[in-house]
């Protein structure tokens, strides 16, 4: 899988080199200098947070919450155990960026987590890794062992009065464990299902202790921000969308893969980097931020830039940066059926609207796709969606509803055709 970078995390990483993930290679690239800088220059927690705030780094897991602000919520001065948790539970269809960070540059994450631990006053960190990328989990364990051996983890790091332990934990592949409180439950050994908030993890997190949870990509960007300064990171992107971002481009393009590019890059340029549309087909639709983001018609996307505000303005979300590109041969009913199945399968089942609603949505779309649609089904879908979105503990119900709403909005004629003619408007191989 290709990684194209003009960014910070993969800068200098030669993914063709099988040892590029190793500590030696990381140090050659200037690794652990940020940690060194903090511990030796006497940078305070407040200074680090200020640097992070000025970098404009927003949470890369999907919600885009400013990372510096999140860290500032931690009761740093409070005595007692605190935790930093990394969310590498990357389970959303279309997203595969964290996997590559863990595989090719795990030490950037480890360094980022140590710095985070230092900043928020946590002496223990956990990296929760998605269960379906087990080899990556094993790679990360190897990297941890290297870091421990080299004295970057454990007691008195770099001979300073600072202790930090980091552990890897792999899940079993449940999408819901990517929701931060479900992740904490799972990490505690319970069934992964989201907790009601408030209290938020910053006050009641892992084992009831103050906890900060960040995405892999966010944490891996921290060493750069410390080394080069927040402004340097901000300058790589645009206002309100600082820095570079990994986009996992998949679908009907010539070169699917991860692209670390400045935020604000036009979509057309990203598509070009990915080699353009495969077989010269026309672009029909794009999901710009992972499967839970609303789908946008191809022509709308072609006018759009890849940053938080532009995509929001176009009616979708940048999310985790998973760009799913579909060509003219895709049956949008079939595509939505697959997405609806995913959200039904992955609903944890605790809240009534999501437990019952995701299944019902899937059943209706399945019916339409299989030529058993009825007049009124689209209104029913819409109505069920309204009864689900915003009415549950976590956002999975919303995530299940967004695709339904956007697919039936932008491609309504295909659904109507399906209901009326009991078959697809386009010919595709699954029909």
């Amino acid at each position: 899988m290709a990684i194209y970078t003009s960014g910070v995390i993969f800068a200098g990483v030669d993914t063709a080199d099988k040892d590029c993930w190793k500590l030696e290679s990381y140090i050659k690239r200037g690794g652990y200098s940020a940690l060194d800088k903090i511990l030796n220059s006497g940078m305070t927690q407040e200074q680090i947070i200020a640097e992070l705030k000025s970098s404009g780094l927003r949470g890369r897991g999907g919600a885009g919450f400013p990372t510096g602000l999140k860290w500032s919520f931690m009761p740093r001065a409070l005595d007692g155990q605190k935790y930093i948790v990394c969310n590498s539970d990357e389970g959303e269809p279309g997203t595969f960026k964290d996997k590559d960070i863990l595989e090719f540059n795990p030490h950037s994450l480890i360094e980022g987590m140590i710095i985070a631990g230092f900043t928020i006053g946590a002496s223990v960190g956990y990296n929760y890794i998605h269960g379906e990328i087990f080899e990556v989990y094993e790679r990360f364990e190897e990297a941890l062992a290297e870091a421990k051996k080299a004295g970057y983890l454990g007691k008195n790091i770099l001979n300073k009065n600072f202790d930090f332990d980091l552990f890897a934990h792999h899940g079993y592949g449940a999408y819901i464990c990517g929701e931060e409180t479900a992740l904490l439950e799972s990490l505690e050994g319970k069934k992964g299902q989201p907790r009601f908030k408030p209290p938020f993890p910053a006050s009641f997190g892992l084992y009831g202790k103050p906890t900060t949870i960040n995405n892999t990509e966010s944490l891996a960007a921290v060493p750069f921000i410390i080394n080069d300064g927040g402004q340097a990171f901000q300058d790589k992107g645009i206002i309100n969308s600082g820095g570079t971002k990994l986009f996992s481009v998949s679908g009907h393009v010539n070169r699917p893969g991860n692209y670390e590019v400045p935020l604000g890059m036009p979509f057309a340029k990203l598509l070009e980097l990915a080699g353009g549309m495969r077989d010269g087909k026309k672009i029909k639709a794009v999901i710009p931020g992972g499967s839970s983001a609303p789908v946008l018609p191809g022509d709308v996307m072609m006018q759009c830039d890849m940053d938080y505000d532009s995509i929001a303005k176009a009616g979708s979300m940048l999310g985790s940066g998973a760009v799913i590109i579909m060509n003219e041969d895709v049956c949008m009913v079939k595509a939505l059926e697959r997405l609806a199945y995913f959200y039904h399968e992955e609903s944890c089942g605790q809240c009534t609207p999501c437990r019952e609603g995701t299944g019902w949505l899937y059943e209706i779309i399945h019916r339409i796709e299989h030529g058993e649609g009825r007049l009124g089904d689209l209104e029913l879908l819409d109505n069920i969606g309204n009864q689900m979105a915003g009415r549950t503990i976590c956002a999975l119900a919303d995530a299940a509803v967004f695709p339904v709403r956007s697919f039936t909005k932008h491609f309504r004629h295909e659904f109507e055709y399906h209901i009326e003619h009991k078959k697809c408007l386009v010919n595709h191989k699954w029909c």
Partner: protein, 785 residues
């Protein structure tokens, strides 16, 4: 305080309370399923969604704290639409066959669906079906009806103390299930039936027999432990008790009851129940009318009195009799000159009689015990003796209290125990003496031979600042009770704490204050004539016995003595709702009295709360409430003072109990004592009883007898003792006491000390000696099996 607007009304509420709590207080109804006031907030059913101004989406009332100036609309268009939406989701997979569902008529989903459901469903797909789960003999399941509110899961985890249910799988395939291969075995399991808002969890014994609206619901008080849980007893049109539910009483049982309180009713109509007076003629039992039976009983009493003197009569009663019954019986007997009267059937040590300054009780209210920082429980299997108190103590421990245990068996109380000493009961007093020595001295107690052990030192650290000491049934039964209690009294004073005694039976304090003891008449008056206590009466063989509400061969401390004494007596007059084989052989007249459900009466619980109740149904057959029988018996015997026409007339004589606090007193005269290290060279029996064998009703309750708790091994020893005796689980073992021996399967466990033999009190061990007396184990060559 916070000011907010609820449906247009300005109200003040405590900060930190939730919208739902405030609404309930204001008398406003917000539909809900997962919320339960005694459980943690799950906020997952989403039924209680309400509109809060400035919030972009409806919020769950159960989990949203009120804030200053908040404007809440519980029945606005947005709120109702959200609630109706949730209801639609709840119903799409729920069977809509209320007429055949056991919960029909008392189902929250059914009730709320009337208000928030629609008349037809938009859901045309197939409904989900879920396989039922085996949760044991008490709770039956119909899991297709489950709406996954998770109340039952939270109950087992938070109240019962051990999570026995969980939500498995995902999405609409989630299922509430026990752990694989396990059932729900908590002694509080029945409460999940009550809190289940639908027909997923229902009562197994009650199932498919009645509709709730056919039943009358009447108040009562539990007769099965010392807490006095308030009950709502349901009675069918044939006047039979068919179900027992908790009646909320925040101070006593909150909204829970134990399985023993809930399912014991099955024993009420056991085939042993007698409905007609019987007398034995030529060794044959014949049914007679009441006049004949009473005349016969009166003649027997008079006969023995004339031939052998009133001293030759002994009177024994179970402490689950009502205060009124016990009062009348002792009054009648004392007027006849009979002074050997006692309710303490399973007690061995009576040396404190006359030295205690009042009726022993908890030493305060339950809240006093629960808010103390450190609790020491001596000689009580808490979860079995006091299931609900144990749950409350668990809660106290969760909020920071320290719990310390000294007991003969390593009981898992399902919470953190700070110090636990498992020891031979003969060591109880010696261990407490160590605590006394570590915390002070007493002029009458010679502690020079006492040396402080490590475990005692650690225990002292926990209780030294005002700990609360509680004694349970085992402490009271073991033969060194007096010394132990005096030492506990001194210890409590040393540490500036309190101590108390737990009643195992429903009405021990009532019996004490009704004067049903040899050394005191009613209301703590010192008896002019001391009779014999329960143990002496059996050791010294009376010519006649009057028994009330007891199967003495099961209930007595020493079954062997009891059977001997009753068999050798000239006449035995039994007042009991039940008859058993032994009773048929030793009794001469049996008067069928009613159990607590069929008579008015009162119990005084372990904290001294006097609770009066009425019969919930009329007497079965020709049986009669004991107070009426006693009144007529007294009239027949021409004893004056028995003109009572109603229970109120009896209670007039007990009116002093309204100021009960004055009679409750745990202090005592301390006698001179020399404490020595106990001699443990002999094996001692520990006569434990299954928690479902504690009284005549419970031991006949069919479903309870099928639970794990009922199936305690009859003979059990520690692995250490087994090793030293060179026996194993297959060994051929005879247990023997007082020349009475029998062979049993032997269980080996690590929960016991090495100097004791647990020989349970049950039907098979009827005829064995004292519950805490010396026992022999004889091994035979070859394996028993």
């Amino acid at each position: 305080m916070i000011e907010l607007e609820l449906d247009g009304k300005i109200i003040n509420a405590a900060s930190g309370s939730t919208i739902l709590e405030v609404a309930i207080k204001e008398g406003k109804y917000i539909p809900h399923f997962c919320y339960h006031k005694k459980l943690s907030i799950a906020a997952n059913c989403r039924m209680c969604l309400v509109e809060v101004e400035k919030s972009p989406k409806p919020l769950p009332a159960c989990a949203t704290p009120v804030t200053q100036g908040m404007k809440v609309h519980t029945c606005s268009k947005i709120a109702v639409e959200a609630q109706k939406g949730v209801m639609e989701f709840l119903l799409i997979n729920h069977p809509l066959d209320c007429p055949i569902c056991d919960q029909g008529g008392e189902c929250q989903l059914q009730d709320i669906a009337v208000g928030y459901g629609s008349s037809a469903s938009r859901y045309t797909e197939e409904k989900r079906a879920v396989t039922n789960k085996d949760l044991g003999p008490l709770v039956t399941t119909e899991m297709t009806r489950c709406i996954h509110c998770s109340r039952c899961v939270r109950f087992t985890d938070e109240i019962a103390g051990y999570q026995e249910l969980g939500m498995g799988y995902r999405n609409n395939h989630v299922e509430i299930m026990p752990f694989i291969g396990k059932t729900v075995d908590s002694e509080l399991s029945g409460n999940i039936i009550d809190i289940c808002p639908v027909g997923a969890l229902t009562s197994k014994p009650f199932r498919n027999q009645y509709r709730s609206w056919e039943l009358s619901r009447r108040k009562s008080v539990s007769a099965h432990d010392g807490l006095g849980s308030n009950l709502a007893v349901q009675v069918d049109k044939y006047h039979r008790v068919v179900r027992v539910l908790p009646l909320e009483n925040e101070e006593l049982n909150e909204c829970w009851i134990s399985d023993r309180d809930r399912f014991s009713y099955e024993g009420l109509y056991h085939e042993d129940r007698i409905t007609s007076p019987m007398i034995k003629q030529d060794n044959k039992w014949v049914n007679v009318d009441w006049e004949t039976a009473i005349a016969y009983a009166a003649k027997s009493i008079n006969g023995v009195k004339t031939d052998h003197g009133a001293d030759a009569i002994g009177v024994l009663a179970g402490a689950n009799s009502t205060t009124e019954e016990l009062y009348l019986l002792q009054k009648l007997m004392r007027k006849l000159g009979v002074y050997s009267i006692d309710y303490r059937l399973n007690q061995a040590d009576f040396t404190l009689d006359g030295k205690q300054h009042g009726a022993s009780y908890l030493g305060g209210k339950q809240t006093d015990l629960l808010k103390s920082k450190s609790i020491l429980v001596i000689g009580s299997i808490l979860r079995e003796e006091q299931p609900l108190l144990a749950a409350k103590i668990r809660k106290a421990v969760k909020s920071g209290a320290q719990l310390n245990l000294i007991n003969v068996i390593n009981e898992d109380v399902l919470c953190h125990v700070t110090n636990q000493i498992v020891c031979d009961p003969r060591e109880f007093a010696y261990i407490v003496a160590q605590l006394v020595k570590a915390t002070g001295t007493h002029s009458d107690i010679d502690l020079s031979n006492v040396s402080l052990s490590e475990s005692a030192t650690s225990l002292v650290n926990s209780i030294k600042d005002g700990g609360y000491i509680v004694l349970g049934e085992i402490a009271k039964m073991q033969p060194n009770y007096a010394e132990l209690l005096m030492l506990v009294d001194v210890l409590a004073k040393n540490i500036g704490g309190k101590f108390g005694v737990l009643s195992g039976k429903a009405n021990e304090i009532g019996a004490d204050l009704a004067g049903f003891v040899p050394h005191k008449t009613e209301f703590n008056h010192k008896a002019k004539n001391f009779g014999m206590n329960a143990r002496q009466m059996l050791e010294n063989g009376k010519k006649a016995y009057v028994l009330l509400n007891t199967e003495l061969e099961c209930d007595a401390y020493n079954s062997n003595l009891a059977l001997n004494a009753l068999t050798l007596a000239n006449t035995v007059i039994v007042m009991s709702p039940y008859v058993n084989e032994q009773m048929r052989s030793y009794a001469d007249v049996i008067l069928p009295i009613t159990p607590f459900t069929e008579t008015a009466g009162s119990f005084i619980n372990f904290e001294g709360t006097w609770q009066k109740f009425n019969g919930v149904t009329k007497p079965l057959g020709d049986s009669k409430p004991a107070w009426k029988v006693l009144r007529v018996l007294a009239n027949t015997l021409s004893v004056d003072g028995f003109e009572q026409n109603s229970i109120e007339d009896v209670r007039k004589e007990l009116i002093a109990l309204n100021d009960i606090a004055g009679y409750l007193n745990n202090s005592m005269d301390i006698s001179k004592m020399v404490i020595k290290k106990p001699d443990l060279s002999n094996l001692i029996r520990i006569g434990l009883q299954s928690m479902y064998n504690v009284d005549s009703i419970t031991r006949r309750a069919k479903s309870l007898q099928e639970t794990k708790q009922a199936k305690i091994p009859t003979l059990m020893i520690s692995s250490g003792l087994a090793d030293s005796l060179k026996i194993n689980a297959l060994s051929n073992i005879q247990a023997k006491q007082l020349g009475f021996g029998r062979k049993f399967d032997i269980a080996i466990s690590d929960t016991l000390p090495n100097t004791v033999v647990m020989l349970a009190v049950n039907n098979d061990t009827c005829g064995f000696g004292g519950r805490f007396e010396v026992i022999e184990l004889n091994t035979y060559l070859g394996n028993y099996k």
